[in-house]
Amino acid sequence: MKRRSKFQIPPGEAVGIVAAQSIGEPGTQMTMRTFHYAGVAEHVPTGLPRLIEIVDVRKEPKKPTITIRLKKEYAKKREIAEKVAYEIESIFVKDVAKIIEDVEKGIVVVRFDKIAGEQLGITKEMLLKSIKKGKRKIQEKGEDIIIAVDEDKGKKDEKGEKPKLFSKAKKVRKLFEKISNTLIKGIKGISKAVILEEEGEFIIRAKGSNIRDVIKNKYVDPSRIYTNNIKEIEAIYGIEAARNAIVKEVKDVLDMQGLTVNIRHIMLLADVMCSEGIILKVGRHGLAGRKRSVLARAAFEETIQHLTRAPVIGEEDPLIGTTENIIAGKTVPVGTGRVLLEFTPPKTKEKTERKKRK
């Protein structure tokens, strides 16, 4: 006989259901409001929308944010933090210049905006350099930079039927888009970097997320960087890190709403989502779709697809899960339903006597 503390989880307990309920039930109490992150003037989704986002494992969250910490030796220096923030923040041509398209002439005119440039720390040379990178023919005319559309190519590409002007207009539009979104400096996807002070350390929080490029910066500590993009964490730091990220993100959402949920429930959710070595979505394209049981899958979503596929590949439902057994009208293999008790009542005197008489 083993002694068991009453604080220990009883064997057979349907911990999965309890965890799912514990995370799902407060959902109705959560607000839909977005949260105003200090400095980063973005309404980062919290509450239910964010929780759904985590559980769905979106490729990219609605508002990705990255938190960068510097290596210990630089962490307390504001100048370095500012420098890093400046280096990573991406600035596009459209941010510092006025761009005009002239369809008739087939040109795009870029006019440098000095005030904006000053604010963002961009000089005209930097602008020029980045536009030149595209190996385009550039004319400078006072303040203007003129870029012409490659006309010869246009003729060849077009099918003779379409009017020329149309193709030219299209080309100018394309060029306009391309030039507007040319990166002058910074890391792709990162913008609006803000420096915050946390426990005497300067940290940078920015909109967008691109760990791969940010950690190339020599001041950045790659072991303490964080993003709310779980998929990205999985790709760079691996499944274990992603599992921890799920736990952290879910917990943060719940804490922010003032809801207490035991960490064990959240951990269990993260562990199932990561049990296959990759993050699986909670839903028909992930965990639910991977169930062994045909009936359980059919009962969830896409009933017909599952029921037609099952015979084709000759599937069998072993009736080992919960839903299947409910459908089949059997006891569920969970909790007391797992315990098989065999009891033969001792023969009563009456019965034995009756037998004797016979």
Binding site: G24, T260, I313
Partner: protein, 824 residues
């Protein structure tokens, strides 16, 4: 085909899925159906869709196959021989796969991907045809449409080994079976016809569809036999294909749904299974039950938390089966003898026959009653039942209660058990289930009983705890000023079943703290800061210092007592606490009136001053904004900066009203006290009733929509001051201005819409979570595994602790004492 076995004796171990081959369909068919009609002069037509060999649904008739009645006959399949084969829509995808992945010359699998079909067969080197699939049922070979006959031929030529290589199972689903040559006709039980009041018969949707199929099939046959031109034959063939396709799935893309005469789309096979109201979710995952009751709930603080007050009418209707043993024989006989309420309604004999206890049968039953029979008696006090309120988001949305039959027509529950059900008494209805087996009753009593759910498995805090008036009562009782004379003290203590008065501690009088301490167990020692910020000390079951509020009861006293003394002790404690608290509260009295929300002239002036100050600040900001001298916050436009600053000012202003209101109403105003100790309401409610309602927002922004640049026509466009943008300057007890009222309604509407959306979204999320995690179970070795036995966690939660008994970071300091440990 009669059932030659008793289904109860067999157990379903596994379910295998396969496609019927034409041979199987024929072998299980009891009749070929050839007549596209159902009844003639009230009788089923032979070889018609209601053929009596397919089973019977009309009372009085007998099944021609098994001889059973409409109750005993399980129904039998028939068949329709299709003159020309048709594609099974649901399997068309797999037919395409089988065709495109094999070589039509050597019938070997040549590619893994249907899209990467080579031009030449890599095995027999012959030219391969280009195969295209046009949804839903058309196949093109080299751009030419092919008929199902040819497809079937091509599929039949694929040998079994190759079928296996395709990933198909040749025994269960040979691709050739996916082209139908015979169609099974489901038994009549699956498509019963309804007799309308007028005596007219209305057929099931499936029957309608089958009628269509047979009609077209006959017409096709006649045309072929008459040697009609190929074009006409193919037209009919396509029509047959259409009917068979819609018979299986009436929602296929690119096929117009078959409609009823009234224009309603028919509900065919796929529609019967699919979705929330489909067979799976409506009838298989969720089942209807007997022995249940439902009515309105109302509060009854006199019964314990474990009980549920059941109306006499319900108790009379619900029964519980009791097996007869030699020990309870006499007791049960008494029930059988009785003619009024707690009586036996039915008796089930050893052979399973059910006899109603009536005037006539009573004597005979009493005479024959034997051990092993079952007596079904009415619900009585003390029976265990399950009690539930929807939505059942929790496991504690369904708990076991003990029956207490009470007058009235509602279920009564102790208001303290309200939170787990999330119930209130504004008309909520709840369900009750009478348990029908000894195992169920034992489990319910031992596991699901209310008192065992005092701590929530979600966070380990008490979820069943006193609320509202009880909290107020405890607070007033434990406050420092409370002194009671002997009579009062005795009255209170008597409520808790204490008949011995303690020594008075305040001269001749008794302090409230002393009375409260009498309820506490002797070994309870806690120290905490109350919501009012004061320290509360309980040492060895004596309240030494402080006033107990909702936080103290909930998070310290109840939880601690539950962990130290277990469920039944806590129930008794809760009972005593509620009784004493409510008794004291009714002695002392607690009420609010309009007067309690009226602030003095002086304070009203202060409120107006604050509002004027706020208006000035807002105006200044707007001027700055218009001059463009306002400093732009990082990452925001100027306008956004302005709006966010104004919002900050308005919320700051409203918050600072709190002080004024509390000052004016007084710290000891009932509404303020109730808000502070967590009994009911909040300071914000008081502010809105007595000082100012405050800024109305939609989507976290001040109101802006409606007319051009304003919310209502009465305002100047683009004016950004408070009033125009939804600040409500008045308060509820005074009443709102018309425009303010409108603004308030705008914000109110948003919150209603949000709640509606939120419930839908969170409901779906929870369904998905449950589906993803429902099979996870902790095993004896504390590993968490899924249904297939795969390990998800090596030790549950990293330490194998029950979340019900662990609070976030601060694990229970109380280490399990020797007597806390029970043996397994």
């Amino acid at each position: 085909m009669v059932l030659h076995y008793n289904p109860a004796e067999y157990e379903t171990k596994k379910i295998k899925f396969s496609i019927f081959s034409p041979e199987t369909i024929l072998s299980m068919s009891v009749a070929e159906i050839t007549i596209p009609d159902t009844y003639e002069e009230g009788y089923p037509i032979d070889n018609g869709l209601m053929d009596q060999r397919l089973g019977v649904i009309d009372p009085g008739l007998r099944c021609k196959t098994c001889g059973g009645t409409e109750r005993t006959c399980p129904g039998h399949f028939g068949h329709i021989t299709l003159v020309r084969p048709v594609i099974h829509v649901l399997f068309a995808k797999y037919i395409y796969e089988a065709l495109a992945r094999t070589c039509e010359h050597c019938h070997k699998v040549i590619t893994e991907d249907v899209k990467k079909r080579p031009k030449k067969c890599p095995l027999c080197k012959k030219e391969l045809a280009k195969i295209e699939f046009q949804k839903p049922t058309t196949f093109l070979i080299n751009g030419k449409e092919v008929l199902p006959t040819q497809i079937r031929e091509m599929l039949s030529e694929i040998p079994d080994e190759e079928v296996e290589k395709l990933g198909f199972s040749p025994q269960n689903a040979h691709p050739k079976w996916m082209v139908l040559t015979v169609l099974p006709v489901p038994p009549v039980n699956l498509r019963p016809s309804i007799t309308l009041e007028s005596g007219e018969k209305s057929e099931d949707d499936l029957t309608h569809k089958l009628v269509d199929i047979i009609r077209v099939n006959q017409k096709l046959k006649a045309n072929i036999e008459a040697g009609a031109p190929q074009l006409i034959v193919e037209d009919l063939w396509n029509l047959l294909q259409y009917h068979v396709s819609t018979y299986f799935d009436n929602e296929t893309a690119n096929i117009p749904p078959a409609r009823h005469r009234s224009g309603r789309p028919l509900k065919t096979l796929a529609q019967r299974l699919k979705g929330k109201e489909g067979r799976f979710r409506y009838n298989l995952s969720g089942k209807r039950v007997n022995f249940s009751a439902r009515t309105v709930v109302s509060p009854d603080p006199v019964i314990t938390i474990n009980e549920v007050g059941v109306p006499y009418e319900v108790a009379e209707e619900l029964t519980i089966p009791i097996p007869v043993t030699k020990w309870n024989m006499e007791e049960l006989k008494d029930y059988i003898r009785r003619e009024t309420y707690p009586r036996a309604v039915y008796v089930i004999r050893g052979d399973g026959r059910r006899i109603k206890v009536t005037e006539a049968s009573r004597e005979k039953i009493l005479e024959e009653l034997k051990v092993g029979w079952i007596v079904e008696r009415q619900l009585i006090d003390g029976d265990v039942v399950l009690f539930n309120r929807q939505p059942s988001l929790h496991r504690i949305s369904m708990m076991a209660h003990l029956v207490k039959v009470l007058p009235g027509k509602t279920f009564k529950i102790n208001p303290v058990v309200t939170p787990p059900y999330n119930a209130d008494f504004d008309g909520d209805e709840m369900n009750l289930h009478a348990l029908q087996s000894e195992e169920a009753r034992a489990e319910a009593r031992e596991i699901m009983l209310v008192e065992k759910q005092i701590l929530s498995p979600r966070h380990g805090h008490a979820i069943i705890s006193p609320q509202e008036d009880i909290v107020s009562g405890v607070f007033f009782l434990t406050s420092d000023e409370t002194v009671l004379d002997k009579k009062e003290a005795a009255k209170l203590l008597y409520k808790a079943g204490i008949t011995k008065l303690p020594k008075p501690d305040k001269g001749k009088y008794y302090s409230g703290k002393l009375i409260f301490s009498m309820l506490l167990p002797d070994d309870l020692s806690v120290k905490f800061t109350s919501k009012l910020g004061k320290e509360v000390v309980i040492k060895n079951g004596k309240l030494i210092k402080g006033e107990v509020d909702s936080k103290g009861i909930e998070q310290y006293i109840i939880e601690k007592i539950f962990l130290m003394h277990g469920p039944s002790y806590t129930t008794k404690f809760l009972k005593n606490l509620t009784d004493v608290a409510l008794e004291y509260l009714s002695m002392k009295g607690l009420s609010v009136s309009l007067r309690h929300y009226k602030i003095s002239e002086e304070h009203q002036r202060k409120v107006r001053e604050l509002l004027q100050k706020m208006d000035k600040e807002i105006e200044n900001l707007i001027i700055k904004y218009k001059n463009k001298t306002l400093e732009r916050a990082p990452g925001m436009t100027l306008k956004e900066t302005l709006e966010s600053l104004i919002l900050q000012i308005t919320s700051k202003t409203r918050d600072s009203m709190g002080e004024i209101v509390v000052e004016s109403l007084g710290e000891d105003s009932p509404s303020i006290i109730m808000a502070r100790i967590g009994a009911r309401g909040s300071i914000l409610n008081a502010i809105q009733m007595s000082a100012v309602v405050g800024q109305q927002v939609v989507r976290n922004k001040r109101l802006w929509r409606g007319y051009y640049g304003r919310t209502l026509v009465y305002f100047h466009p683009k004016k950004l001051t408070g009033r125009e943008r939804g600040f409500v300057y008045y308060y509820f007890s005074k009443g709102l201005e018309p425009d303010e009222f409108y603004h308030h309604a705008m914000a109110g509407r948003e919150s209603i819409v949000n709640t509606a959306i939120r419930t839908a979204r969170s409901g779906y999320m929870q369904r998905r979570l449950i589906h993803a995690m429902q099979d996870l179970v902790v095993l004896e070795d504390l590993t968490v595994r899924d249904a297939g036995g795969q390990i998800i966690q090596t030790i549950y939660g990293g330490d194998g602790k029950d979340p019900m008994f662990t609070k976030g970071k601060e694990e229970y300091e109380t280490k399990p004492k020797e007597d806390d440990v029970d043996t397994v």
